[in-house]
């Protein structure tokens, strides 16, 4: 197994708060890693650091062995990492297909102007995450939370990533929507996608992951198989309040 993403002693301070504290972990190609931790543990912050939306205070982040800490967000995305947001961030005045279109856009002004968008692929991505053709032209205000998460996923997939960071994918979804989302992630896993998944819904998360890293107050407390990590005393104390 080859390591695709490598965090080494990553620290992030916001003023006086240390959100991430000397955290290190690896993600292997094709695996699915759960990132566990109570509210405020620093999970979302780690995603922002990996994406370059925030810069770490110290430590290194490597993608396929190369340091990416100096790269801007768009470069990291073009190198194959992409994320979803805990709070979905659709383009409110664009419909489902147009949202996906922005996700598929090349990072070249000339290509934006001269090359047409691939409507077939847009529709395929929309279908893929479970939109029906009559939902193509709906705007985000007409969509449920489940639909917004689907859209978020489709837009992320549109950037053609190898590694996807999913933040609270199941939050706010109905039972049926959770099932559909799980199904979709299963399929993507089979296709070889690498995942880092954050979710408070442990029961839905468990069948989707190979491994887990648990953290609290920004540092790691356990790493290993999902079951072992969940059995860890410190994890139970901090995460489950036992």
């Amino acid at each position: 197994m080859s390591v695709v993403l490598e965090l080494n002693k990553v620290v992030k301070r916001f003023g006086g708060i240390t959100a991430v504290n000397e955290l290190s972990f690896n993600v292997n190609k094709g695996e699915s890693l759960a990132l566990l931790g109570p509210n405020g543990a620093g999970k979302t912050t780690i995603f922002s650091l990996i994406m370059g939306e925030h810069r770490q205070t110290s430590g290194s982040i490597k993608l396929r062995g190369e340091e990416i800490s100096k790269l801007g967000t768009h470069k990291r995305i073009n190198n194959g990492i992409s994320r979803t947001y805990q709070v979905p961030r659709p383009f409110n005045e664009l419909n489902v297909l147009e949202n996906i279109r922005v996700g598929m856009m090349p990072d070249s002004i000339m290509d934006m102007i001269w090359k047409k968008s691939d409507e077939k692929l847009e529709k395929k991505l929309a279908d893929n995450v479970g939109f029906s053709s009559k939902e193509y032209y709906r705007t985000p205000s007409e969509l449920s939370m489940g639909d917004l998460r689907k859209l978020e996923l489709a837009r992320t997939l549109a950037t053609n990533p190898e590694i996807m960071l999913l933040d609270e994918v199941f939050a706010g979804l109905t039972v049926g929507e959770i099932e559909h989302m799980s199904q979709l992630l299963h399929e993507k896993r089979k296709e070889g996608m690498t995942f880092v998944i954050v979710s408070h819904d442990l029961r839905s998360l468990e069948p989707l992951v190979d491994r887990a890293v648990a953290m609290t107050f920004g540092h790691q407390i356990a790493e290993g198989s999902f079951i072992d990590v969940m059995a860890d005393e410190e994890v139970r104390a901090s995460y489950l309040g036992e």
């Binding site: 967000t73 147009e98 047409k116």
Partner: protein, 329 residues
């Protein structure tokens, strides 16, 4: 994706050109002179709209851009006796370069501060034109007696209309591409655009360059039309608001909207002149703009399509959405 040039849209553009070209046969010189003013205002409003209407980075500095264009052109032509064929392109180039040097750092800051910083630029250049090298800028009095491109209301009408038409059509076609989508998306959620792997700074810079190009063209040609410039009028807060209000009441992000807005505003101001001679006129249009903006935030242009669709018995609300994104139906 929709085709950029649909038969219907091309026909509408042609119809627009034909109607506007017929006006000099029907109207008097006074009317044409007002139209010319409106065309220049439309150019500025479109320039503002490409940057601010789309990306949400509200520029309060457009008079500053127009100012560079007019001053550079006027100085080159009047003080250095350059021919028009050199003074105009150089003036436009100066707008793009000068604007970029000052705006570029500002494009990295957040929207609200952007507005403030650009406002400061306008004030800055106002002060500078009066103090630095008044032998060139003409100080507080400005410059007059600048060579004109062509004479007579009719010729100037066609010239300014042609300029506006070419600019409008080019911008419209450009904004119908994915670039237009991307710029609008920045206005909705810049972080998410970055999250799609797009370098938003590069996009904003491009939008800015286009905006400066258009403002520069407007400035350079208008100074040759009016034959004079005065810093008091150019760097006037009323001029700034006229540009912005024209873009907003017409319908931001639509290209056609700012044109309609500019015509509407110019004629409104002209016909109010007999009754309200002073600057109070600006209050009136302020109120009109506010009312329109409160009740119809998508502007006159969207109202126009609603009426058209009512007429045809179609559902109007679907149109409003698509106009805000696609620029035009």
């Amino acid at each position: 994706m929709e085709k950029i040039f649909t038969t219907r849209s091309i026909l509408l553009w042609i119809l627009f050109a034909v109607v506007m070209c017929a006006i000099p046969f029907l109207a008097g010189k006074g009317f044409l002179r007002i139209c010319i003013q409106a065309f220049f205002l439309a150019i500025y409003a479109m320039s503002w709209d490409v940057l601010s209407g789309r990306t949400g980075y509200v520029s309060f500095g457009h008079p500053f851009l127009v100012g560079i264009g007019t001053y550079a052109t006027a100085i080159l032509s009047y003080r250095f006796d350059m021919p028009l064929i050199a003074s105009i392109p150089l003036g436009i180039l100066a707008t793009m370069i000068g604007g970029t040097i000052l705006f570029l750092p500002a494009l990295r800051i957040k929207e609200t501060y952007f507005a403030l910083v650009t406002l400061a630029f306008m004030e800055l250049i106002y002060q500078l034109t009066q103090v630095v090298r008044p032998d060139l800028t003409g100080g507080t009095r400005g410059i007059s007696g600048i060579e004109s491109i062509t004479t007579g209301a009719i010729n100037n009408y066609y010239l300014s209309f042609g300029l506006m038409f070419i600019i409008a059509f080019s911008l419209w076609a450009l904004m119908r591409t994915r670039l237009g989508n991307a710029l609008s998306a920045i206005g909705m959620n810049e972080e998410a655009v970055k999250g799609c792997g797009i370098n938003t700074t590069k996009l904003k810079l491009f939008a800015f360059l286009v905006s400066a190009l258009v403002a520069g063209i407007g400035g350079a040609f208008s100074v040759h039309y009016f034959g004079s410039l005065a810093p008091r009028n150019l760097f006037d807060i009323n001029f700034l608001f006229t540009i912005i209000v024209a873009a907003l009441i017409g319908g931001s992000s639509t290209i056609i909207g700012p044109m309609i807005g500019a015509l509407f505003l110019t004629f409104l101001l002209e016909y109010l002149r007999p009754w309200v001679p002073g600057t109070e006129r600006f209050f009136i249009y302020g109120i009109v703009a506010l009312l329109l903006y409160m009740y119809r935030p998508s502007g006159i242009y969207a109202i126009f399509w609603e009426v058209v669709d009512k007429f045809k018995g179609k559902n109007a609300s679907s149109i409003k959405d698509s106009t805000s994104i696609q620029g035009v139906k």
